[in-house]
């Protein structure tokens, strides 16, 4: 494959994931030239999507560009990692126009910067001043509960496990009580009976 040899020259490895999915991992400084060669030399005219994954533990964002040729017979994923703190990527909107809105969304959801991007403004969220919502250090549930309280009428909900335990204990207690009562009854009967026995003996 022509693409594979070219990538070999750049000492990059083309990994086949399945029948139609290939993957290349590159360093961030190689990314722009590689993407340019993808469209100029191999005619990957379609940019399907730009995805971002938040690797909070490593302090990295993993960015994936999915590319297709006109034949639509396979997808090449170009993967790169960038620093989480100073997240910045070269903008691709001059090559693939659809990248403009993808990058705009990524800027909003992950806080990735794209120097030279023309419309890096609010997209789906307006006036958002918190941590970008798809970053993993953004606590969604806490934010939701502070902004949007629940309808406060479901406070009578019960914890079933405790109810089960309670009921089991109640049952046990009832059983115990029944046993005790039976025992007490028996004892009382015993108390009564010896007299009878005694009386019988006489």
């Amino acid at each position: 494959m022509d693409l594979a040899s070219k990538l070999e020259k750049l000492s990059l490895e083309l990994v086949q994931k399945n029948d139609y999915l290939y993957k290349v991992s590159v360093k961030i400084d190689q990314l722009e030239s590689l993407l340019l060669s993808f469209i100029n030399e191999f005619n990957y005219i379609t940019l399907d999507s730009i995805n971002c994954r938040d690797d909070l533990e490593d302090g990295l964002f993993t960015i994936t560009y999915c590319l297709q040729t006109e034949a639509r017979d396979h997808i090449v994923m170009v993967q790169t990692s960038i620093e989480r703190e100073t997240a910045s990527l070269p903008t691709m909107h001059t090559i693939w126009p659809q990248a403009e809105i993808m990058e705009r969304e990524m800027h909003e959801m992950f806080g990735v910067d794209f120097p030279g991007h023309p419309t890096l403004i609010d997209f789906a969220l307006e006036y958002w001043d918190n941590i970008p919502p798809l970053r993993r250090d953004f606590d969604t549930l806490e934010y939701v509960n502070s902004m949007n309280p629940f309808r406060g009428q479901r406070t009578d909900a019960l914890d079933t496990k405790e109810e089960m335990k309670k009921k089991r204990e109640a049952k046990k207690a009832a059983k115990l009580k029944a046993e005790q009562e039976a025992a007490a009854k028996a004892a009382q009967e015993e108390q009564n009976n010896p007299k009878q026995e005694v009386s019988g003996d006489e």
């Binding site: 789906a124 969220l125 307006e126 006036y127 001043d129 919502p133 953004f138 969604t140 549930l141 934010y143 939701v144 902004m147 949007n148 309280p149 629940f150 309808r151």
Partner: protein, 216 residues
């Protein structure tokens, strides 16, 4: 360009408060009550709807308003602009961005005005209960007159909502817009909490002197 920011004026209709005083003074309070009842009946028989497709529920609107369920036989007609509408139907979940537009649309409607919400989401969050960008209780932000549950509600349920609203208007029960006028601060505070103070434009707040404005 819109001319909306110039400041709108409120006009009182022909059975406004001044008329009421006149009637009561002249001992014609009974006539006034009868007239008001008649007007309420006409209001209930003629409801102009602006159908705001905020979410999935917009798909239930076409069968409700077209031949299959034909809401027009009850006097419920769709109109194109909020200026002419009496009822706004909010169909489904509302993101903050949508809520801002909904408030703007609602405040452009002329009183008396009503709100109907479709689906579970505007009642208590529904599917989007843990979304960072969707409101849970719509009635915290704008007064909901009729809520219809379902995911999505069938057109029958929407028509049930219309019937309920007509009964409420006919009985002269306290409508949402009156609540909105009385508790404006409550609603505006809630709106500002989720929208970050960017509630634009502030028609109602100007009218009620909350922002230092006034009726021009």
């Amino acid at each position: 360009m819109f001319g909306l920011d110039k400041g709108d004026k409120m006009e009182s209709g022909f059975y406004g408060s001044s008329l009421k005083c006149k009637f009561e003074e002249s001992g014609l309070a009974n006539t006034h009550a009868i007239m008001e009842k008649a007007v309420r009946w006409f209001e209930s028989r003629s409801i102009f709807v602006v159908a705001y497709g905020t979410g999935c529920g917009a798909i239930e609107m076409p069968p409700t308003f077209t031949s299959r369920y034909d809401a027009e036989r009850m006097g419920v007609v769709g109109v194109a602009t909020p200026r002419q509408a009496d009822l706004i139907i909010l169909s489904g979940y509302l993101a903050y961005k949508t809520l801002r537009r909904v408030i703007r649309t609602y405040e452009q409607m002329q009183k008396p005005r009503y709100i109907m919400s479709l689906g579970s989401c505007p009642i208590n969050g529904g599917m989007y209960w843990d979304s960072y960008n969707t409101i849970k209780k719509l009635d915290d932000y704008i007064p909901v007159d009729v809520a219809v549950t379902g995911c999505m509600p069938r057109p029958e349920a929407v028509i049930d909502g219309f019937v309920l609203l007509q009964e409420r208007i006919r009985n002269g029960e306290k409508a949402g817009w009156e609540k909105y006028d009385e508790n404006l601060k409550f609603y505006k505070d809630n709106q500002k909490r989720v929208l970050g103070g960017h509630v634009d434009p502030a028609y109602e707040t100007d009218w009620y002197n909350l922002n230092g404005g006034g009726i021009a």
